[in-house]
């Protein structure tokens, strides 16, 4: 009996030991959580941190990778942290959900620090990236990196079917959808069982979301006057979904899906990818693909060009996302937190991070340097044509609703019905924030019309 009591006491002691909370208030240890949690980027962030600690002796940064399990806009990590009062001082997250988080009261505005800073920090960064993270006329994040979307193509696969890859050279401007479809048809081959063995182009693969195509169709998504998202009325959006219905029928969605799941299975290591393995000739994807290509398919002979446009002569387009740094609500180590954010997004910090990862920096002056060094010179040009996703406080709901509608259409539903349902999803959410003014220049970014 005594032994049992002792055992219980020991366990109780251990449990109590696990009960120590974190002291609040200013501290020399800065806790930073990051959603950029893969090994490459964690290492890169650590390099920046090492430089920060060298420049600020006495300060130490605790970097904690926190992979986002639920995809974009899953607030659960930060929500539970803030409510449980265990939030980090600095959080690295995707910029798109920032206005949503801000609307929920999860983030602290940074305007005070930005105004007090010696230089005009925001002016040095890409305008679109800056505007993407504003809410209620306040700035909630400082951007770090930009990505952009483009069409990647496998030159060898094209040559194999007698197509000269120079046809897609970006110097001639963006290819048309019709051109891409024509090339694709030559590459696509079917095996004995009727299954696709090789494909030329899957319009919805990679970054080919309906959202992407809609942006290409000059969709506006949100009508400020009526404070309403325009999924069911915007012609640019409707065209994109009609195109999806068309492709679904023409390519036989089920067979394409089987192909895709075979060669680019969900939750697979990045090396299990149809494009990297020479099964898919053309794919809409982004700058982040470059590091994967270097790592897993260094011998792939590929080219990059603008996203396909509807008609010959249309201006190129793309959209950008990327990460930024925020300060969750309720944190008390704010002065030091700001120091870290400032350093991370400074020229030095961005240079370190971008050189290590190949992700393009948000500071416009730095872009050419990094782009050239990592074989992404083309993207310097692309960035001048990009916009960001519409910065509304229900961004992730919008994205999810559009994604669901896309899946529905691909599985056979009528585009009009699917969009009506999507509209029904987002309306009640958006209503809570009306009236809602969009940041003045959100659409433009640095995009020249």
């Amino acid at each position: 009996m005594r032994a049992k009591l002792l055992a219980v006491a020991a366990v109780a002691a251990l449990v109590a030991a696990g009960c120590a909370g974190r002291p609040g208030g200013p501290s020399d240890t800065i806790v930073m959580w990051t959603t950029q949690a893969d090994q490459l980027r964690v290492d890169a962030q650590q390099q920046v941190i090492d430089a920060f600690e060298a420049a600020n002796p006495g300060l130490h940064v605790d970097l904690v990778p926190k992979p986002e399990q639920g995809g974009t806009g899953d607030t659960s990590t930060i929500l539970t942290a803030v409510r449980g009062n265990v939030q980090p001082d600095v959080y690295m997250m995707g910029r798109f959900p920032v206005s949503q988080y801000a609307a929920l009261g999860l983030l602290q505005p940074l305007d005070g620090y930005l105004d007090d800073a010696p230089e005009d920090i925001l002016a040095a960064h890409n305008t679109g990236a800056v505007n993407e993270v504003r809410f209620d006329s306040q700035q909630f994040a400082v951007p770090l990196v930009m990505d952009a979307r483009a069409l990647f193509y496998n030159k060898q696969m094209l040559r194999d079917v007698g197509v000269d890859p120079d046809v897609l050279d970006p110097a001639d401007g963006p290819p048309t959808v019709a051109e891409v479809e024509e090339i694709a048809a030559k590459v696509t081959t079917t095996g004995p069982g009727g299954n696709y063995e090789r494909m030329g182009f899957i319009p919805w693969e990679g970054e080919g979301w309906a959202l992407t195509w809609a942006i290409g169709n000059d969709a506006t998504f949100f009508d400020e006057d009526s404070c309403r998202l325009t999924l069911d009325t915007d012609p640019g959006i409707r065209t994109a979904y009609d195109d999806f219905a068309h492709w679904r029928d023409e390519l036989d969605f089920r067979r394409v899906d089987a192909f895709k799941a075979s060669y680019s299975p969900p939750d697979a290591p990045p090396s299990q990818n149809a494009f990297l393995n020479g099964r898919l000739a053309m794919i809409e994807t982004g700058t982040f693909q470059v590091s994967a290509l270097t790592q897993y398919a260094p011998d792939l002979d590929y080219g990059i060009t603008y996203l396909p446009v509807q008609q010959e002569g249309d201006t190129p387009y793309s959209w950008s996302g990327g990460a930024g740094l925020v300060m969750p609500t309720g944190g008390t180590n704010t002065a030091n937190a700001w120091k870290l954010i400032e350093f991370f997004t400074s020229v030095q910090g961005q240079r370190i991070f971008s050189s290590a990862t190949g992700d393009l920096p948000s500071r416009t002056d730095l872009v050419p340097e990094i782009a050239d060094a990592s074989g992404q010179s083309f993207f310097t040009d692309v960035l001048s044509h990009t916009t960001s996703r519409v910065p509304i406080p229900v961004g992730s709901t919008l994205f999810e609703a559009m994604k669901t509608a896309q899946e529905a259409v691909l599985l056979g539903q009528d585009p009009g019905d699917a969009l009506d349902e999507a509209q029904q999803r987002v309306d009640p959410q958006m209503e809570q924030y009306c009236p809602y003014p969009l940041p003045a220049e959100y659409r433009q970014g640095d995009r020249t019309p």
């Binding site: 366990v11 009960c19 893969d38 539970t80 265990v86 299990q272």
Partner: protein, 294 residues
Amino acid sequence: MSTDTSRRAPRIEQSPQHAERPTGRRGTAVARFWLILASVLLLLPIYWMVVTALKGGPELSRFPPTLIPRDPQWHNVVDAVRAIPFARFFLNSAVITTASVVGAVLSNFAAAYAFACLRWRWRERAFYLVLATLFIPFPVAIIPIFDLFASLNWINTYLPLVVPHFFTSAFFIFLLRQFLLQIPRDFIDAARIDGANHLRIATRIVFPMARPALAAVAIFQAIASWNDFLGPLIYLQDRSVQTLSIGLQVFRSENDVQYNQLMAASLLTILPLVLLFFAFQKHFINGITLGGFK
């Protein structure tokens, strides 16, 4: 007051005669055949885990995947343990599990004793209430309980995961009650007449008799705590207190999945449970068996 243990409790034991005995050698062979078939089917995922854990990076990405690793990378196991704070996670899981088991055994025994060995007016009706709570979907409680623990500043501690088990659970009350109902009422009455009060009876006499059932509770709770995902997901934000079950998520990030290490770590995670089960099977099964569910 004497607790006269010379008046020995009837040992609640059962003869092993109730199992199906396959008749003859042919019967045994047939039984074995089906057993092996069933085991193979159910073990396929485990086999795949082992195979994947041993593959090196390049072999991982081959299409179609190889069924037997060409070049087993035994060091993957070591890498997996190094890639995450494995020892820390293991310790956390162990402490939480042990404490939860202690809590579950004690509190549920007490409640089951009340429902099985004591007589009081609303006993049956109260038990219906207990049963009803089996049906209360956990979601109802997530947010309020989270707020409760947050206001107590218990986030990032073991407490939210351990303390609730000290306050019973309907499933275990049910299980233990079934077992304790086996004890003849006369026996308890006799001890009362001898002068023992219920506290003594419960702790000195009935508790030891209930060992098989308590073992069952202990093992069920151990498995549940060890593999608990949602609880640690919500309550444990800090690396230093996280458990193995959510620690595995580190292997999946936005741009990558470390398949082999994930599988290696998963295998290490279930190893203690497997050993536990293998060793304590008999006690465990006796514990639930004697409930009889009558």
